[in-house]
């Protein structure tokens, strides 16, 4: 009785969990099977070729086994039997593998990167992403927790980490690349389809590892250039209680807001926080309620968050700060 109960108790989450896993597999937002970049497309192509090839070989092998077992003894002479073994057992696999090698190796060639290409430095930190756009011949632009890239242009990601090893993966764009403290790994990519996608940290990095994600927006080059120019300019912060509270609670010790004297660099840059599609590296939507919740106790949203809680902060103070941040577009 008791065991049956536990079983049916277990069945539901297992079934819905499996369904969820399947559904998320079909998600065009974050899927290696819905590529929007050249490298991911190559990986998908290679995967399909390998899977189809493996199935064909498996079926051929099964048929061969069936034939070997069913056919009466003596259907092959000793010599032709040996020849069969040499051809199917040695020559064919060697040729197949060589073909596969020669076919797949060129796909491992990285995009050639030129000095005039856009470079984006991304640093993995527990549990968010520090982003710095370094356009050719221009001052760098600081941002966080979201990445925009132009379609049709080569972009070089320079990846590193500040604390522990993280891993940078935009499944629809390219393969994954580790972010290692003290080392810069380069990942050249080229997006092909505009749209909104998602990336995720893929190396366990602490309690909120699963909450370490980011939006990726692939844009037409002209729109991207306009966006980058806007991102470079500070938002127009409104004066008022929120702004004063932001300063008096010491938020500026960790956060910078362009155009004000708040210039901390410990946490994410908040200059255009309201123009982002999420707060807390993909954890919450950008709404007033979410901001209030995150500001007062970010570790309730993201366990182990490096941003301190402000238990003494009144709801009213939090709302004012949230309203202030909500204007930073």
């Amino acid at each position: 009785m008791g065991s049956r109960n536990t079983l049916s108790h277990l069945a539901k989450p297992i079934v819905s969990g499996a369904g969820l896993a399947l559904l998320s597999g079909c998600n065009r937002h974050q899927s290696a099977l819905a590529p929007f970049g050249e490298d991911a497309a190559a990986i998908e192509h290679l995967t399909i070729v390998m899977v189809v090839g493996a199935v064909v070989i498996a079926i051929a092998l099964a048929l061969l086994m069936r034939w070997a077992v069913k056919s009466p003894e003596g259907s092959l002479t000793l010599i032709s039997g040996e020849r069969l073994i040499v051809i199917l057992g040695a020559i064919l696999p060697a040729v197949l593998l060589l073909g596969l090698l020669v076919y797949s190796l060129p796909q491992m060639r990285p995009h050639p990167v030129e000095a005039a290409d856009l470079k984006i430095d991304v640093t993995g930190e527990q549990f968010w992403w520090r982003v710095r756009y370094a356009p050719p011949g221009g001052e760098p632009v600081i941002s966080a927790n979201a990445i925009r890239i132009p379609v049709g242009r080569t972009v070089l990601f320079r990846l590193t980490a500040s604390d522990v090893v993280h891993s940078f993966w935009i499944p629809g764009l390219a393969g994954k690349m580790d972010m290692i403290p003290g080392r810069v790994n380069e990942l050249p990519v080229k997006a092909t389809k505009p749209g909104v996608y998602r990336g995720q940290c893929t190396e366990f990095c602490g309690l909120s590892h699963a909450w370490m994600a980011f939006e990726v927006v692939a844009m037409e080059p002209a729109a991207f250039d306009r966006w980058l120019a806007a991102e470079r300019r500070p938002a127009k912060p409104i004066d008022g209680r929120g702004r004063a509270l932001f300063a008096s609670y010491g938020c500026g010790g960790c956060h910078a807001i362009g155009g004000t004297d708040q210039s901390g660099t410990v946490g994410p840059d908040l200059t255009h926080i309201a123009a982002r599609r999420s707060i807390g590296a993909g954890a919450l939507p950008v709404t007033q309620d979410a901001l209030v919740r995150f500001i007062r106790a970010s570790s309730e949203v993201k366990p182990g968050s490096r941003m301190p809680a402000f238990p003494q902060m009144s709801e009213g103070d939090a709302r004012d700060i949230a309203r202030y941040l909500g204007e930073l577009r």
Binding site: A90, A94, L97, L98, V102, L105, P106, R109, P110, E186
Partner: protein, 126 residues
């Protein structure tokens, strides 16, 4: 001339040491590949346009393996005791070791080619 060579080779001793010539060459070539790429990339910062040293090394490895395999083929055909050649006699042992050497040489030859293919196709230090 060729026949003389054949009979000379046939009289050579096939031992466990000659058996491992080809796989050892493959292993050394493998190590050589890594060392060559590491040293070249570290010293010059970019991949060689004409990796001459590498191709000479690879050609040498293939040559050693081919010779080992060629000797083994001849040795494995030395006429000896009547078939099946599976007795613990001197000539059956020779044939057995020679046959194994030949198979290993074939495998090593392919192995070296597979190891060298990335140098030919990738041409990148990253």
């Amino acid at each position: 001339m060729i026949r003389k060579l054949h009979s000379h080779i046939g009289s050579l001793q096939a031992t466990l040491w000659t058996l491992i010539v080809a796989p050892t060459t493959w292993a050394v070539h493998f190590l050589f590949s890594y060392l060559w790429a590491a040293v070249y990339c570290a010293k010059t910062g970019q991949f060689a346009e004409e990796p001459l040293v590498y191709w000479v090394g690879t050609g040498l490895a293939l040559l050693v393996i081919a010779i080992s395999g060629y000797i083994a083929v001849i040795q494995s055909r030395v006429p000896g005791d009547p078939a099946p050649h599976e007795h613990s006699t001197e000539s059956d042992r020779l044939r057995f070791i020679a046959y194994s050497t030949m198979l290993l040489a074939g495998l090593s030859f392919i192995g070296v080619i597979f190891t060298a293919a990335p140098v030919l196709i990738l041409e990148d230090c990253r």
